[in-house]
Amino acid sequence: MTCTEFLAKMTDYFDGTVEASLLEEVHAHLAECSHCEVVVNTTQQTIHIYRDQQLYEYEMPEALRDRLRAAIMEKCRGKRCK
């Protein structure tokens, strides 16, 4: 398996959905290719760093949530009277 072939399978590898017939080749490539090993590790770190940081950082303050929800409900009332 070449590096390009491995990269094409990397998403499935993370998801645990690599076809059984290819799994051995994928593991063998990772064991012998330090570049792809680094790419796998650092890509996983990339995902984790973003998930951790941005879930927290882009959280809406409660006051803003209340304000937006009130504004939405106010607008909705005029739009779809039953």
Binding site: T11, V38, T46, D52, Y58, L68, K75
Partner: protein, 207 residues
């Protein structure tokens, strides 16, 4: 009353009942749907537009549109996925308006191979986040993700930050599953490449 009927009808998502009630004019039910999903919609809009004020407007527009189109929601998909699709479209529209161009779409710049082929193979320091303060780290991440084309940013946000499945992401973005997979790979590799310069083991540390 919110129905507690999970045992017999496990397959039916609790949102279905709320949507039905909202369709019948129950405002409290729709308000409950807002409470459940406003944070996610805000984060998604904020990621795609990279702008806080736009994201606030998009939260309002998304729920208002959903309310107006509630009759069209047939329950073939999850309510949340349907909502995300509206939010993504609103976000791309905002970007288009802000840049005053017609080019912002899911397809923009996705032809570029720039950064999609790994070039930096240096390992990262064990806890790269701890090298930087919270604020500094946030700045690095923002700068890094801003460099991604909106089409890649959308896929990465839905799939990796909001944890939608590949199928849900495809549905929300109006893309095929293989297209989502290919964009996700390239988005991840581009982010990795760009973050590498901040996170890798410095040469003097490696000695």
């Amino acid at each position: 009353m919110a129905a507690i009927q999970s045992t017999a009808t496990e397959e039916i998502h609790p949102d279905v009942a709320l949507v039905e009630r909202a369709k019948a004019g129950d405002e409290a039910a729709f308000e409950q749907l807002i409470r459940q999903y406003d944070r996610q919609i805000f984060r998604i809009a904020r990621h795609i537009t990279q702008n806080k004020e736009d994201a606030e407007d998009i939260v309002q527009d998304t729920f208002l549109k959903a309310y107006q189109k509630l009759e069209q929601f047939q329950g073939n998909s999850k309510f949340y996925t349907w909502l995300v699709r509206i939010a993504v479209n609103e976000s791309l529209m905002r970007l288009r308006k802000r840049r005053n161009s017609k080019t912002v779409s899911m397809d923009e710049d996705v032809q570029t191979e720039d950064g999609s082929v790994p070039r930096d193979f240096a390992d990262w320091t064990p806890n790269p986040e701890q090298q930087y303060g919270q604020g500094e780290m946030g700045e690095i991440l923002r700068k890094t993700i801003q460099g991604l084309p909106p089409g890649f940013r959308s896929v990465f946000t839905l799939r990796d930050i909001e944890n939608l499945s590949t199928e849900e992401t495809a549905e929300a973005l109006g893309l095929s599953v293989p297209a989502v997979k290919s964009r996700l790979l390239r988005a991840r590799l581009q982010l990795r490449e760009r973050l590498s310069r901040y996170m890798k083991v410095k040469d003097d540390e490696a000695k």
